[in-house]
């Protein structure tokens, strides 16, 4: 039987067109230092194109899935926001004490955003105006933290980036209110391939709490190709939660790069509950002594959602620690992928690296591909990893039934307990509650 492949667009041709248009709109900025990076990224993307179907990093999640149909590559535009956005007024974030920053098809929409934190705590700027003002943070870190190796989508995003958001926290500040990004893909007019971009620069000793919510609407479907770069100066810390809850016709490539100077700390929680195809790339570079990265993830694969988490922890200097816990549940014909790479450089002695990936399969047709990938060049390290794939324990279900709890309720309790270990690590309470609500809804359905 012949394999049916959905039609997909020639992305390099689209990128070439979009880049040419984008450059025209940039005016004087084409001579600036940032545009040189965009140009290089564009050239690299044209050169590499989409990852080959046999490329190891894209083996279980073919890159062409993200360009199925007739995607419209969205570059910089001044178009007014489309569609109506009920989620912004009635969603879980409405009325909360938080900074809410909205991107619509990749473009930062200031009119849909609310900034409550004072400017001496955190500066929030559109990248377009930051670039015009020759922002030093932008120049120092834009496209310098993100690594396009094995991930051409990063170059695609960089080449078309002019409408992202820059967050800068000065030294010694605690940003008290969380910053919640709403990345909305609107496929109500056509099928966008959006390129949202965020750069967060946290000064020495400062701390920030960030949430990124990915949503979608519209019958044409969409692809979001997001890049988040985070730079943590000495002793800075960031708590990042991602809540990926797009519609079943919306795909997402979410590439996040966190760079740690000495004693910097990060925690990233990636929660994937819905969407079509979701690919997460999370890279934490521990580049300063005694820095720390925690990587937590929870993913729910089902008939609608294929989810792939590729993580990489780079231990570059001695005395750093990383803790990684990813948990997944696959139902129906759902497929999930976890690839956890831990790299320990030759100098990075006294490294502590922990990794755990646990999965539950709820049906015979569900599947999980899990792979720890350890590249250790130092000899004095503590590195543990473990991966499990199992089913809900029958004995525990029977025990609950023997106490009068129905079988379905028993399964829900067990799934909730399984997920809780990750969910309880979400720092922002409103996000934790929203994640719990979405999980419960999912558990009801399987």
């Amino acid at each position: 039987m012949a394999t049916l492949t959905a039609p997909h667009a020639d992305l390099t041709a689209l990128a070439q067109q979009a880049f040419a248009q984008f450059e025209q709109g940039l005016e004087g900025l084409v001579h600036g230092p940032l545009h040189e990076r965009r140009r290089q990224a564009h050239a690299r993307f044209l050169d590499t194109g989409l990852p080959h179907p046999k490329a190891e990093a894209w083996k279980y999640t073919p890159a062409r899935r993200f360009v199925e149909g007739a995607p419209v590559l969205e570059a910089y535009s001044r178009r007014a926001p489309q569609g109506h956005l009920p989620w912004l007024r009635h969603g879980f974030v409405a009325g909360q004490r938080a900074n809410v920053l909205c991107t619509l098809n990749g473009r930062y929409e200031q009119t849909l955003s609310t900034i409550l934190s004072p400017i001496h705590e955190v500066e929030i700027t559109g990248m377009y105006s930051a670039e015009r003002k020759n922002s030093r943070s932008l120049e120092a870190h834009f496209a310098r933290i993100a690594d396009p190796a094995d991930n051409p989508f990063v170059d695609l995003n960089t080449s078309l980036c002019g409408h992202g958001i820059l967050i800068r926290v000065p030294e010694g500040k605690q940003v008290r209110l969380p910053i919640v990004f709403y990345h909305l893909a609107d496929g109500s007019i056509h099928q966008p391939m959006a390129q949202p971009r965020v750069l967060v620069v946290v000064g020495a000793g400062s701390s920030i709490e960030i949430a990124e919510v990915f949503e979608s609407q519209g019958s044409h479907g969409s692809t979001t190709n997001h890049v988040l770069e985070v730079y943590l100066a000495e002793g800075a810390s960031a708590n990042i939660t991602k809540l990926q809850k797009a519609e079943p016709n919306a795909s997402l490539i979410d590439s996040t790069f966190i760079y740690h100077e000495a004693k910097a700390q990060s925690q990233t929680n990636t929660i994937t509950v819905s969407g079509k195809t979701v690919r997460n790339n999370l890279t934490c570079a521990l580049a300063g002594s005694e820095s720390y990265a925690a990587l937590n993830g929870l993913y729910l694969a089902d008939d609608a959602l294929h989810v792939d988490n590729h993580t990489e922890v780079r231990h570059l200097v001695p005395n750093c620690q990383s803790d990684e816990l990813y948990k997944g549940i696959a139902a129906g014909k759902g497929q999930a992928v976890f690839n956890g790479k831990i790299y320990v450089a030759q100098d990075a002695q006294q490294t502590n690296a922990f990794q755990s990936n646990r999965n539950i399969l709820l049906s015979d047709d569900a599947g999980v591909y899990t792979k720890p990938q350890l590249e250790i060049f130092a000899d004095d390290v503590r590195c543990t990893h473990g991966a499990t794939i199992g089913q809900l324990p029958e004995e525990a279900i029977f025990y609950m039934q023997a106490r009068g709890i129905g079988k379905d309720e028993a399964r829900r309790l067990l799934l909730g307990a399984f997920a809780q270990e990750v969910v309880e690590r979400i720092g922002t309470e409103m996000l934790r509650q929203e994640a719990e609500r979405l999980l419960e809804r999912w558990f009801e359905g399987v």
Partner: protein
């Protein structure tokens, strides 16, 4: 004589193609405590498993009536809701689910089944505090994951505590004494004694006579080869303790 609460008639059951129960009959009336003793492999735990509805066991003949209803037709959770409680020989550890949460769900599902209103958080905690005293249960233990890291004694106390919370009509204790030291045994047994009433009944399955010093039965049955081969009063337990099961092979 009162009508039996539980009436087992000529029960046959097998697991993995092997016949274990071969014609077991037993009537239990309200207010009675029955002990089932017998050598290893006699079918004691199979009886508990069949009564509580474990799927792996196949009933090949006979009947079990509980308060006039066909028990074998019911799903395990419905048996529990109707008032059958099995105290497990090996209570299951469930990481991530606290005893409190677990019991609140269980108590309310049982209450709804009985046409009672669900308890709110305050009433539930009040009930819990009251019943904790039955087995000297520690509050801190209840906030932890269910049975996770509990000692053998703590697990068995938790079983009796759950029984106190769910107020069953028939309590089945499956080798509850196994792995208990004497102090834990006393606490567990005294908990069961506090729950005894004229309206409920207990089926105590045990290999040793020791437990029956504390939970004094009205009837003792010897189970061997999948059937009850001898029945008597509490003195039968002492006789078995003294002479063992040698008479079975005579």
């Amino acid at each position: 004589m009162a009508t039996p609460l539980l009436s087992i008639q000529d029960l046959h059951a097998r697991i993995e193609g092997k016949d274990i129960l071969k014609g077991l009959s037993l009537d239990i009336r309200p207010g009675e405590v029955h002990a089932i003793m017998g050598p290893n492999g006699a079918g004691k735990s199979t009886l508990a498993a069949v009564l509580s509805g474990r799927e792996q066991y196949e009933v090949t003949g006979g009947s079990v009536q509980f308060q006039g209803k066909d028990l074998l037709e019911m799903a395990p959770e419905d048996r529990a809701r109707e008032g059958v409680f099995l105290a497990f020989q090996y209570p299951v550890e469930i990481p991530g689910v606290s005893t409190v949460n677990f019991l609140k769900t269980a108590v309310n599902q049982v209450r709804l089944h009985r046409g009672q209103e669900a308890l709110d958080a305050v009433s539930f905690l009040k009930l819990m505090k009251e019943r904790m005293a039955v087995v000297e249960m520690d509050q801190a233990l209840l906030n932890r994951s269910l049975n996770e890291g509990f000692s053998g004694g703590e697990k068995k106390r938790n079983e009796v505590f759950q029984m106190a919370m769910l107020e069953p009509t028939l309590g089945i204790l499956d080798e509850t004494d196994s792995g208990l030291d004497i102090d834990a045994l006393r606490i567990v047994a005294s908990g069961v004694n506090k729950l005894r009433s004229q309206d409920n009944a207990f089926l105590v399955i045990t290999h040793y006579q020791r437990l029956l010093d504390y939970i004094v039965p009205d009837f003792v049955h010897v189970l061997a080869g999948g059937r009850i081969v001898r029945s008597g009063g509490k003195e039968l337990a002492l006789e078995l303790e003294e002479n063992g099961y040698a008479f079975l092979s005579e």
